[in-house]
C-alpha cells in the first residue's frame, strides 16, 4: 500500500483551490507568469489538466528542469566515443537512449552494434559490471540533485576496477540564479522542484528572495500540491512580497536530507556544465572529485576534442528550455519532431516539455 494519495487528488479540493486562485488572480488584476524548473512538474500538471483549469491570466512556464532535455550532445558524443574506442558497455537510463548526439543517439548506435544496456539506476549498472568482469562498464549518469546523490553513494563505496561513471549531473539553484540574471525572460515567481528539494531542502532558495526580491514556493506533484504552490506564489504577488514558501513539508525539510547532502559533498566538486543549446553555465554541474578519479570515466579514458552540434536545423530547444518559446511555436513540433522520432532533446523524455505537449495535446495559451 502506498501513501494514501487520494486526498492530494480530491476533485472537490481541487475545485475549491481553483476558485481561490481565480479570486486571487482577479485581485492581482494582471498576468502572472510562473516558472517551474522540473520535468516532473510539467508532466504531472499537464497530465492532471491543470493548465486548462487555471485562469488564463496565469502562465505556467516550463524552465530547464528536465535533465534529459538539458543534456548536451557533447556528452552523448563522448560516451559513444568511449564505447567505440575502448569496447565499453554503456549502461544508462532508458530516457537517455533517444537523446540526439551530434551524429547519432545511443539508440541509433545500438543499431550498429554498440553494446548499450538500459538500467533502472546506478546500482543495476554495478551489478552488470560484476556479471561481466572481462568488460568495462560505463554508467552514463544524468540528473539533478535527486539523482546525483544516489550516484554519489555508489561513487563513494564502489571499488570495481571495470566500472566507471560519466557524470553529466547538474544543479538546480545556481541555474535558477542564471535565469534570474537574464533580461530576456519575463516571469514573477519560481515554483521550486519538490523532489530536488527533498535532498537540498528549502534553504538553498533563500538567496532568491534575499538577493533578488523574487518569490519562491516549493511544491510537490499531486494536483493539490501543485495548486497550493501556485496559490502561495499568487499570495506573495498580491502582497507584493517575496519569500520561500515550503508547500511540500511532508517531505521537504528546511535543511534537506543531511546524509544525501554529505554524499554529494564527498563525491563531487562543483563545476561548469554544458546545457543543451545554451552553452556552458558556470558552477551548475557536478564532476566526480579527484579522490575518486578511478571511477571517473572522463579521467579513465582520454577524450579527444569532438566537433559538436547541439541543435539540429530548425530545432529551438534552446528557447523552449528557458521558457522563451512554447512547443507549438517550433516548426518541427509534431511534424518532423515527434515522440516516436525526436529531433530535439525536449521531445525525448516523457517529462520533456515538447514530449508532454505532444502526448497530452494540452491547451497552450497564445501569448
Amino acid at each position: 500500500m502506498s501513501e494514501p494519495t487520494q486526498k492530494y487528488r480530491d476533485k472537490e479540493l481541487v475545485d475549491a483551490l481553483i476558485k481561490k486562485i481565480k479570486q486571487l488572480t482577479e485581485q492581482i488584476g494582471e498576468k502572472a507568469r510562473i516558472m517551474h524548473v522540473c520535468g516532473t512538474h510539467e508532466h504531472d500538471l499537464v497530465k492532471a489538466g491543470l493548465r486548462s483549469l487555471l485562469p488564463k491570466e496565469i502562465d505556467l512556464i516550463a524552465g530547464p528542469g528536465c535533465p534529459v532535455c538539458v543534456s548536451s550532445a557533447q556528452d552523448v558524443d563522448e560516451v559513444l566515443w568511449i564505447a567505440d574506442n575502448h569496447n565499453v558497455i554503456i549502461a544508462t537510463f532508458g530516457d537517455m537512449m533517444r537523446v540526439p548526439g551530434s551524429k547519432e543517439s545511443l539508440y541509433q548506435a545500438q543499431g550498429r552494434g554498440v553494446d548499450i544496456r538500459v538500467v533502472y539506476g546506478v546500482s543495476d549498472a554495478i551489478k552488470l559490471a560484476e556479471q561481466t568482469p572481462d568488460r568495462d562498464v560505463l554508467f552514463f549518469s544524468v540528473g539533478f540533485e535527486t539523482t546525483s546523490c544516489v550516484t554519489a553513494a555508489e561513487v563513494i563505496r564502489t571499488t570495481l576496477p571495470n566500472f566507471s561513471i560519466y557524470s553529466s549531473h547538474k544543479l538546480v539553484p545556481p541555474a535558477m540564479e542564471l535565469l534570474l540574471q537574464r533580461d530576456d525572460l519575463e516571469f514573477q515567481g519560481f515554483l521550486a522542484p519538490g523532489h530536488v528539494s527533498t535532498i537540498i531542502g528549502a534553504k538553498p532558495y533563500d538567496f532568491i528572495p534575499e538577493k533578488y526580491d523574487f518569490p519562491v514556493a516549493v511544491a510537490g506533484f499531486e494536483p493539490v500540491d501543485i495548486l497550493v504552490g501556485i496559490y502561495a506564489l499568487l499570495k506573495q504577488f498580491n502582497e507584493n512580497t517575496s519569500r520561500v514558501d515550503n508547500m511540500y513539508k511532508r517531505y521537504v525539510r528546511y535543511e534537506g536530507n543531511v546524509a544525501a547532502l554529505k554524499a554529494l559533498e564527498e563525491a563531487y566538486v562543483v563545476s561548469d556544465a554544458r546545457w543543451r543549446g545554451l552553452g556552458v553555465w558556470p558552477d551548475t554541474g557536478h564532476e566526480i572529485d579527484d579522490k575518486y578519479s578511478h571511477i571517473d570515466a572522463k579521467k579513465k579514458y582520454e577524450l579527444p576534442e569532438l566537433e559538436v552540434t547541439d541543435l539540429h536545423s530548425g530545432c529551438i530547444c534552446d528557447e523552449i528550455l528557458v521558457g522563451k518559446s512554447k512547443p507549438h511555436k517550433c516548426k518541427l513540433f509534431n511534424k518532423a519532431c515527434r515522440p516516436d522520432h525526436p529531433i530535439g532533446a525536449c521531445m525525448v523524455s516523457h517529462e520533456g516539455t515538447c514530449n508532454v505537449a505532444a502526448t497530452y495535446e494540452e491547451i497552450v495559451w497564445e501569448d
Binding site: M1, S2, T5, K7, T147, T198, Y248, K249, R250, V252
Partner: protein, 73 residues
C-alpha cells in the same frame, strides 16, 4: 527523471536495506542516503532504488491544516 514514488516500508532487511511496498508491488530499496532510522509502517519516497526521504506525519497534518486555512480564508 526526478520522479520519486511513495511507498510503505514493510520489512527491514538490514541496516541499509528495506523492503518497500509500492502500490502492492514489493521492492528492495537502499536506505544508505537516510540518516534517520526506518520502521515498518513508515512512508518513504523511492528514487532509482534509493530511499531519498521519509514522510513526516506531523508535517503532513500541518500541510492539511494549511489547505483548510487557504480554503477558509
Amino acid at each position: 527523471m526526478c520522479l520519486a514514488i511513495p511507498g510503505l516500508v514493510c520489512e527491514i532487511l538490514n541496516d541499509n536495506r528495506v523492503m518497500v511496498d509500492i502500490t502492492g508491488v514489493r521492492r528492495e530499496a537502499d536506505a544508505t542516503l537516510l540518516e534517520e532510522s526506518l520502521d515498518i509502517g513508515d512512508y518513504v519516497l523511492v528514487h532509482t532504488g534509493f530511499i531519498i526521504q521519509k514522510l513526516d506525519p506531523e508535517q503532513a497534518k500541518e500541510d492539511l491544516k494549511l489547505w483548510d486555512e487557504i480554503l477558509s480564508s
